[in-house]
């Protein structure tokens, strides 16, 4: 099946002010079998297959209260529609943070980040959003409000719906409230950056990093024209295949030690030149690397996840397809974003289906479309890659949460 329309055909938006109101809307929609499209900040709606059914948008943005912030317990309970930025600012007042990166934080909501399991460079050191959600309240596709987990950092009572709903893309339930585990803000941060001549060398250096004495928070491998003339990083050295950026965080003494140590280790590996980016430059680099996947709305952006040791091979393959490819990789986790900024719809499909997806599978993983040209006709396989072996059980779980199939119909892998 192919479809063309990119945005869900939504006739109106409902913005309930309470979880109870939200549950009533869902219950009514379920009775009428009206499709519902949950929306948080709306920053990440254009992925997956486009909606087929007309229906209502269900906005969570009015559900944005802080329910409880016992800072001494290092947990917070907030409603799902709160923006990531306002959450960040509130936590900072107590010297705390949720160490999960999300692009467009001023608009993106915590509910949306959880629903899409979004993460960024910090996930190497801190884990991803699933590791921080300890309690969740949601409304299922029948309009039934339910919860799981709790407000304490350790809890094994009942099924862990905090995990199940994370990354479920609004296809099981509408998340209304979450309790998060928090961390202290880091006193200091810096990046150590070097240019690497070949992909083979890059893999050697990445493999050495696994045994390094330092504890990186982020391991980013970037490549492509824009990265070669980046004003923060400076121009790349002549024969550079990729640039390696290692982010560290911690106490000032730790950060100072790690930057020195890593430069020392790299020198032993034959990398004579490396630079340390700290202070405001470091902060800018964190945010640049967090925003990169969404920086440009044009062309094709693919997110691949492969074995960490296969990252350089995959990057080389992606660049061989078209040398204008821009790459950012959370190399420590095997996550690679590939963007072909100028691709038209005609160019994108064969690259996906015959190029990147097989390359990702060969590298032990898979590739999904993150952004694509508006007029691209996508198939289920093109968006999600080959069917997951567990999709039958996923579909039966979906049926239990959403028997009428009204939540984000067609948008998810398992919810077509």
């Amino acid at each position: 099946m192919t479809v063309t329309a990119k945005t869900p055909p939504r006739s109106e938006t409902q913005s309930p002010a309470t979880a109870e109101e939200l549950a009533e809307i869902v219950a009514r929609a379920a009775a009428a079998e009206t499709a519902l499209y949950p929306v948080g900040g709306g920053t990440g709606l254009n992925f997956g297959l486009p909606a087929r059914r007309s229906g209502l948008s269900l906005s969570t943005t009015q559900l944005n209260r802080v329910v409880d912030y016992p800072a001494r317990d290092m947990t917070i309970t907030v409603e799902a529609g709160r923006s990531m930025q306002s959450l960040r600012e509130l936590l900072a007042t107590q010297g705390q943070r949720l160490p999960v990166d999300a692009p467009q934080a001023d608009t993106a909501t915590i509910g949306g980040v959880i629903a899409t399991a979004t993460s960024g460079p910090r996930r190497f050191g801190h884990g991803s959003i699933r590791d921080f959600v300890i309690g969740i309240s949601a409304v299922d596709g029948r309009g039934v409000a339910f919860k799981a987990g709790g407000r304490v950092v350790k809890n094994v009572a009942g099924y862990d719906f905090c995990k199940l709903l994370t990354g479920s893309r609004g296809a099981l339930a509408v998340i209304t409230q979450v309790t998060l585990k928090l961390r202290p803000v880091a006193e200091s941060t810096a990046w150590v950056v070097c240019d690497i001549a070949s992909y083979e060398k890059a893999e050697t250096v990445l493999a050495e990093l696994v045994r390094s004495a330092i504890v990186p928070t982020a391991i980013e491998l970037v490549a492509g024209p824009a990265w070669e003339r980046d004003n923060l990083l400076g121009p790349a050295s002549g024969c550079c295949a990729a640039r390696l950026l290692v982010g560290v965080e911690g106490a000032a003494v730790e950060v100072a030690w790690m930057t020195r140590q890593l430069q020392r280790e790299w020198r032993e590996q034959g990398i004579a030149d490396s630079q340390v980016i700290d202070a405001s430059g470091a902060a800018e680099l964190w945010s640049r690397l967090c925003e990169f996947p969404v920086e440009s709305a044009s062309g094709l952006t693919v997110k691949a996840t492969v074995r960490p040791s296969a990252v350089t091979r995959f990057v080389a393959a992606a660049r061989a397809i078209d040398e204008r490819a821009l790459i950012q990789s959370h190399a420590g986790n095997g996550i690679v974003y590939v963007r072909y900024p100028e691709f038209t719809a005609n160019e994108a499909l064969p690259v996906l289906v015959r190029g990147l997806q097989p390359a990702a599978v060969a590298a032990g993983g898979h590739a999904v479309v993150y952004q694509c040209p508006a007029d691209l006709e996508l198939t289920h396989q093109a968006v999600w890659g080959p069917a997951a072996p567990a999709s039958a059980i996923m579909a039966s779980v979906k049926k239990q949460f959403d028997p009428a199939g009204i939540l984000n119909p067609g948008l998810s892998l398992f919810a077509c």
Binding site: F146, K154, Y159, L164, W257, A390, I393
Partner: protein, 479 residues
């Protein structure tokens, strides 16, 4: 099950796993009538010991064909009765699936069969610079399959998280006999986070036959401290102060005076027996930052009236301290003929309150209670001492346990931080969750386990019944 069909089932099971893989004589099966929770007992009709996932599939299919309940078992160290074969049936014991299939340091993972004992993986990784982080106190006996099923924690969860934070994927046999992989080597697989759901599902959704686990870099160094306090309140205030100062210790454990006496008698570490509480505090990480954290912790303990803060002077001393902590439960045998270890959670800041309540509850029921627990996580393990030959004490221990768990709920906490619901705590599920919450959980179970033959009567109260009524308190000292 209907006795007349049992021989036929046993024959068919033998055909799958061989003669030496099936136990059906009652005398052989008594071992399997309970796990670490000894209150409710019931023998399975058969115990089977598969060596491969294909054998597990074949066993499960036979159970469906014969319409008998079945359940997985690892080492049987569950403290919540997770391995109780309610209604009898077939117990699938996974201890012969005990291979570490792969260790890959470059990609930081290991693949293990479910019967691998937790500490074997630690041993296999020794010297590599990596380890598997979840380290339950029972790690010398419990299996990784059991850890996955119960989402095990341990003393180091404060900084490193629990089992679910370290599982990349599982291969499992579904209750209809299908073999599936959830998650795996590459992260962020499209679709639902089913590994996240399977971990902690207490064997009620699927039988895990293979696990991909994340390996964690060994810390460069440690500082292990012993804070000695004159009062429980001072100790718990120090915990809040340390966490509040933005320090995330690798471990933050508390022992009260009652348990100290037993531990000292067993291990002769040199604990001050008149201290009301001690904190075992460990920070780990880069050497460059450790002294600073150590100094700050010492300062915060002193500010909260610590009588003394001692530093483990050598690796050997650190190891001894950890041995004392991890084997503290065993030492309780010195205090009383029987004991019952509870497992509850409160917000960290409620620790002073809950410990006072525990003292009060113990006093009212005339039950001696000692405490050794994961203080940094707010995960309490009050140990209720009694003599199980005395019916009145037994009744009082049950009442006191229930009150303690009710207090945890009232504090906004939970009735289990790591041991699970099993059969032991089913009656508390109604107190933690609404009927709607439980209904959604039951629906999820139904989507995996529609016939309900996999581990019936666990974790979720069944409609109409309120779970097993507890007639007898916790477990014995022998572990």
């Amino acid at each position: 099950m209907i006795a007349t069909r049992l021989p036929a089932l046993v024959d068919r099971l033998r055909a799958v796993v061989g003669d030496d893989g099936v136990l059906s004589a009652h005398s052989d099966l008594v071992v399997y009538e309970c796990d670490g929770f000894v209150i409710e007992k019931n023998c399975p009709d058969v115990a089977v010991f598969p060596r491969t996932a294909a054998q597990v599939q074949a066993i499960v299919r036979l159970c469906n064909e014969f319409d008998v309940p079945f359940l997985p078992r690892g080492a049987g160290t569950s403290l919540a009765g997770g391995c109780l074969p309610v209604g009898g049936g077939v117990m699938i014991v996974l201890t012969r699936m005990k291979e570490i299939l792969e260790i890959n340091l470059r990609d930081r993972y290991a693949v293990v069969q479910p019967g691998v004992v937790n500490v074997w993986l630690t041993q296999a990784l020794k010297g590599t610079g990596y380890h598997y982080a979840p380290d339950p106190s029972s790690q010398g006996a419990c299996t990784i399959g059991g850890n996955v099923a119960t989402n095990s924690g341990g003393p180091h969860t404060l900084k490193y998280g629990v089992t679910v934070n370290h599982v990349l994927g599982v291969e499992a046999v579904l209750p209809d006999g299908t073999l599936v992989e959830f998650g795996g080597l590459s992260e962020d697989q499209p679709g639902l986070d089913l590994p996240g759901l399977i971990v902690g599902s207490e064997g009620t959704l699927a039988i895990v036959t293979k696990v991909w686990v994340r390996l964690t870099r060994d810390p460069q160094g440690w500082r292990t401290m012993l804070g000695i306090f004159e009062s429980v309140a001072d100790a718990t205030n120090a915990i809040s102060a340390i966490i509040g100062a933005g320090i995330v210790p690798a471990a933050l454990e508390m022992m009260d005076q009652g348990i100290l006496v037993a531990v000292e008698e067993a291990f002769r570490f040199g604990f001050p027996l008149d201290a009301q509480a001690i904190l075992l505090i460990e920070v780990d990480g880069l050497e460059a930052g450790l002294d600073q954290q150590r100094d700050r912790i010492i300062e915060l303990c002193r500010a909260n009236n610590a009588r003394d803060v001692r530093l483990a002077a050598s690796a050997a001393e650190r190891q001894l301290l950890w041995k004392c902590r991890k084997q503290a439960f065993g030492a309780v045998g010195r205090l009383s003929p029987s004991y019952c270890t509870q497992d509850g959670v409160v917000p960290r800041t409620k620790l002073p309150y809950i410990l006072e309540r525990i003292i009060d509850i113990g006093r009212r029921h005339e039950i001696r209670i000692v405490n050794v627990f994961h203080a940094g996580d707010g995960n309490i393990h009050p140990i209720l001492l009694f003599d199980e030959r005395d019916a009145d004490q037994v009744r009082r221990v049950l009442a006191a346990s229930g009150e303690i768990l009710d207090e945890c709920i009232a504090c906004g906490g939970s009735v289990t931080g790591e041991h699970g619901i099993g059969v032991e705590k089913i009656e508390f599920m109604h107190k933690l969750f609404s009927a709607a919450d439980l209904d959604v959980m039951a629906r999820v179970r139904h989507s995996f386990n529609p016939a309900g033959r996999l581990s019936p009567a666990k974790m979720l109260p069944t409609a109409g019944a309120c779970g097993l009524e507890q007639r007898h308190p916790g477990r014995r000292a022998a572990m």
